[in-house]
């Protein structure tokens, strides 16, 4: 089962390697990891999507909490979060396929962020599942490159995680 953990950490060097090292050496499976600064410049927010049973996710939480740099941590409730991931896809196109690809882009609410004679670069921000659908639809065309940020998420409603 995929679960999302949101972590506030001290914003200084070495924190990310401590977190990622922990996952590697304890054998936790990680689907995605996204990190960025918050409104407080001393604090970064890490969003991790892990794939595992309750035992594993509890272990992940407890081991992360032991890191001195981890300020706060919460498992986000499934179904009650806004979660998004940004993806850029570069697809090869010809004058013939361009409009077909554009149709897909429109239907998926994605957008074209770069265009050349032979390529289209598509930008899309959505849930990880919806990004998969877009990838699937683009498969018949020649996908040249894909880059994804990993999921970021916030809990819905008034619930917040702050220092």
């Amino acid at each position: 089962m995929k679960q999302t953990i949101s972590i506030l950490v001290e914003n200084h060097a070495g924190v990310l390697s401590r977190i990622s090292g922990l996952f590697a050496r304890r054998g936790f499976n990680i689907d995605s990891l996204a990190v960025g600064i918050t409104d407080d410049p001393t604090v970064s927010r890490v969003t991790i999507v892990v794939n595992g049973d309750d035992y594993m996710v509890e272990q992940v939480e407890k081991q992360l909490n032991k890191l001195i740099d981890v300020i706060k941590l919460r498992r986000l409730p499934a179904g009650d979060t806004v979660s998004r991931e940004l993806m850029l896809v570069k697809v090869a196109c010809s004058p013939k396929t361009r409009s077909e690809i554009m149709d897909i882009v429109r239907v998926m609410d994605a957008r074209v962020s770069d265009i050349s004679c032979e390529t289209l670069t598509i930008e899309h921000s959505d849930t990880a599942d919806r990004l998969e659908i877009l990838c699937e639809l683009l498969k018949p065309y020649q996908v040249l490159e894909i880059v994804r940020t990993g999921t970021i998420a916030l809990e819905k409603g008034g619930s917040v995680i702050r220092v």
Binding site: V9, E10, A13, G14, S17, R18, G21, R25, Y55, E58, Q59, K62, Q63, N65, K66, I68, D69, V70, I71, K72, V163
Partner: protein, 537 residues
Amino acid sequence: MRMTAAQAMAECLQREAVPVVFGLPGAAICPFYDALSQTEIRHILVRQEQNAAHAASGYARISGRPGVCIATSGPGALNLITGIATAYMDSIPLVVITGQVVSDLLGRDVFQEADITGSCEPFVKHSYLVKRAEDIPRIFKEAFHIASTGRNGPVLIDVPMDVQKAELDFAYPEKAEIRSYKPSSQGHPGQIKRVLAALKEAERPLICAGGGVFSAKAEEELRVFSERSGIPVVTTMMGISSIPPQYPRNLGMIGMHGAPSANRAMNAADLLLLIGARVGDRAIMSPMGLSQSATIIHIDIDPAEIGKNMGTDIPLVGDARQILLQLLEKLDSPPVPDWTAEYRPASPVQPVPVKEGCVCAKAVMASLFRQAEEDAVLAADVGQNQIWSARGYRLARGRFLTSGGMGTMGYSIPAAYGAKLAAPERQVIAVCGDGSFQMQMMELATLCANRIPVKMLVMNNGRLGMVRELQDLHYGGRQAGVLLDGNPDFAKLAEAYGIRARTLSNASEIDRCVQELLESDVPFLLECRIDPAEPTL
């Protein structure tokens, strides 16, 4: 006050009332060594850095304060790693100080550069790579705080040479303020109630005491709680000496090499109260079965240990001493009737017949425990000697030290002299095998140079005895790489260092030789010729 960071580091150690440090210098730590030499702090020069960490560990375990060890950049720091990892596994508080190449050259693979904070990441509670001299007071304050609170452990401070030379205005913080680190020591009152309710229901409750009892300094509270509740106690290897062997409700050590009666008692219990024991695989080999047959209450300062290796019915996070005091305050049920009659430890470990020219290790241990002072400290190494020491352990008010989690050979002698420096008035004995002795024998020089009267017992069977036994049992007796051919004459080797020594090879001389060892007021090595066939159990 204006001073260099190196002077500030030495000043921090003085503010933390550190009387002794263990280390070996090199170029990248010279500014600090220079400053250290201007203080009253005693420096013990080890002969290999790993031993500095072990010695600091022995010091920490007996003094109850973080042990401090020092090494230079690169190989010096890398040699510390085994010692740091050993301390980490056994939750021993260390503050480890390493020199680093100058900041501008970091990452250029210059001479004696190693990413020590990166290398040690899995084995430290926390680490710092100091970037600015003015951070030194705060970092040292935090390091001592982190090492010695919550679940104790090693903290590494890596200081580039240019930072050591830079100046700062020194002011030592009163308190460490770390917003992300607030370990809780009090047990949750609701959970305390649940524990007491479960204890009332239980007919065959049992306490399993681990090394956390020492970390929390809860030995006294453990005994009082056991007496008042009537609940008998087994210990893990790390928990040996947390409750006296003579205490009538102490059923002995559990685990792979534990007393069969203690293991059977644990399997018979209907409630298991784990106190500062992390359910390591050598202590509790089938946690799943146990959690089905008994109500499991797990008391630990580290929430991550609860539920990690064994399902838990009632988790209780906190400091073992605080929690025992909370339990004692609310305990109102009468002592549970004694259910342990059939689980009493058999008579003390029995000597076995051995071949001519050898003595029985178990008989030597029995003699040692008969004659040693009752508050002696015994540092056991790893292997057969460790199990002989653990199973024979009989000191009423003594302390048993060993590398329980990591099983690091070469631990006993440095840990023993660290312990001796923490408690000069106590007898301190190191027990090792001929294999483990040779991983630390350079430390004989440290003992001589500093006149530390550690008593050493070398159980010489010419083998890596425990591995030999494993090969006999599971590999068809094919002995691979276990014969220690080329062993020196250990007594002569000791004498070459000016250390008094005896070789014991005759059963009739055991008591006299052990007596001579114990009465010596200078370092003494007793080599015991052990029959290679003598089993661990």
